[in-house]
Symmetry: C2
Amino acid sequence: MALIVQKYGGTSVGTAERIKNVAKRVAKWKAAGHQLVVVVSAMSGETNRLLALAKEIQADPDPRELDVVASTGEQVTIGLLAMALMDLGLKARSYTGAQVKVLTDAAFTKARIVSIDESPIRKDLAAGTVVVVAGFQGVDEDGNITTLGRGGSDTSAVAVAAALKSDECQIYTDVDGVYTTDPRVVPEARRLKTVTFEEMLEMASLGSKVLQIRAVEFAGKYKVRLRVLSSFEDEGEGTLITFEEDEKMEQAVISGIAFNRDEAKITVMGVPDRPGIAYGILGPIGEANIDVDMIIQNAGVDGMTDLSFTVHRNEYLKAMDVLNKQVKAHIKATDIRGDNKICKVSIVGVGMRTHAGIASKTFRTLAEEGINIQMISTSEIKISVVIDEKYMELAVRALHRAFGLDQPN
Amino acid sequence: MALIVQKYGGTSVGTAERIKNVAKRVAKWKAAGHQLVVVVSAMSGETNRLLALAKEIQADPDPRELDVVASTGEQVTIGLLAMALMDLGLKARSYTGAQVKVLTDAAFTKARIVSIDESPIRKDLAAGTVVVVAGFQGVDEDGNITTLGRGGSDTSAVAVAAALKSDECQIYTDVDGVYTTDPRVVPEARRLKTVTFEEMLEMASLGSKVLQIRAVEFAGKYKVRLRVLSSFEDEGEGTLITFEEDEKMEQAVISGIAFNRDEAKITVMGVPDRPGIAYGILGPIGEANIDVDMIIQNAGVDGMTDLSFTVHRNEYLKAMDVLNKQVKAHIKATDIRGDNKICKVSIVGVGMRTHAGIASKTFRTLAEEGINIQMISTSEIKISVVIDEKYMELAVRALHRAFGLDQPN
């Protein structure tokens, strides 16, 4: 008998019919003798409906009140799923974030979980009850309702799994696992049986929509065994996210190719190569609440240098505006150049650490396809390149083939 | 400066635009120097949408989980109204039933309020904040979410007003007060400036939709000054619901004519006139969860009698079925007769106690219109008659005129 935490996203609980299907799946696990805690999101579309309603009232909705409104989405789902489970003859009981209770800080709309009181859940589980918990939400120490921000339901599930020291945390989604790359771009993409937490973090941060990055971090921190599965297929083991020490010797060098076309590149040219210049450029960007992804600065020539960085494409114009109005004259840059028709392609794999030649193979593959590399950035288990967005699919396919990801390992 | 509790129903907060209008009205009262607590219902249609969703999942939804789902309707409204108030520059803060906290018993879907912790509200009011409270909901002592049943938001408002010892509890609705009768039936119907609690109770129980009966009882018990007002008109004093001792000498004999066409009449004929027979008939009806309204039993003749009673029209067939299957043979009744084409018309007025001739005037008026009276029942301040439903409008108009209710008093 295992204690299993399952999480179902908005698409999986998008209609009454789908909620009943989730109940059937839960019942199957229960019948196999396991203890079940189920964490759910709002029905798909519901959170957006509530946000739109809030914006009709207040252009920039008050965060505390927005959380009061937004948290109702998950509250509806927990009640409905508990009913569906009871309709199958199971004992079931729902909990809101406040009832569990999921204690968070007071950062409305993007709160972080501080602790979870697992005692009421344990009592229910011992009595054979399936526990249904609202994802995405919690309560601060003053009893205010908080939400964890978009995708927060994954984090809720992992946090509950950690608090209960559960045997496995299963994230049910609309894909059946983590792939070597997006199958819509590379039809030969294969599902990975396992992927390490570090690789998953790199994949997630690069726009892979399978798992929310904070949930992966959380799982890594608390050693929660995490598995991604399809909620629409009955068979399949999905992808298990492992800790490095668990890995088998034969770990592939490269696990996957991630990509992201939501970025834009900005280069500040001809700035004096002296201390404080990076802060002079990126300080105002940060103050404008613009997140920066890659940052590259070459060694200077003749006391001058260029600094390039990437931002989300939606914030490209805002970033250019900040630079032109607040930064350019101040730091005496010769020019600000931007390009929002770029993409980032990354090769990810923990095996990279111990295998030479991954970088050169990457660059050679792209050169053979005639693709110019605009920026390069590397980490211990990742090589990212920025290229013209029109070559994205070509680059991903070529790299996928070059690293043998289309071959069963 | 007064402490005022205002309650807005589902129609008054049915759209973003209407919520903004409510905020404007609240702001006006605040600007006049008052302290404001606003209790709101779910946006119109929302509760029905949630109930339908629950029934899609489970034909007879689990009451605890149904309350988890249904209570989200009001939670959305409190967040939105708080935003709308802030958008007007006011300080505002929302509270769910659990946050206030509104402690109830554990009777899910029809819980009763036990107590309200008014201390957080007082603190906010002292700081000049408008407090927005979710109607219809509370929490039991184990922290389970409960709802008060249909119309429970009125009761929430009155309970909050009682806990805060507020100066006035204003119920905003889609009519501008309590009328001598339904203006759709009698165009000459007049708005009453005042009506007593007892009269209001009789009116409410007879299907007058203005105020929920439990709210009126609650207000009477805790001496809450209650006023019914229109949320769609800016002027008007509505109707104040008074305690008898406050009344002026010139109180009219009759305050209004109520009517109800949702009833059905059932007569059990030829039953032995002996102890236990009423229980033998109405016991099984009660066990089948059928509410009985009027009950009439005449003096018996030759040791035999007939017993008549009325039930809600929706439960007519169920009641007939119970009687025919479980009761008839058992008590040796000669026949069970029913009629679901009846209506009840009632003359209500505290003045009735001290004025003779009200009953005879009622019966004479109906006789002059050729309307046969099928059943009669009286209380201290009410005379009710059951007649063929086709005469309902005729009876109401005739009585309204006969008692001079169309004349300004």
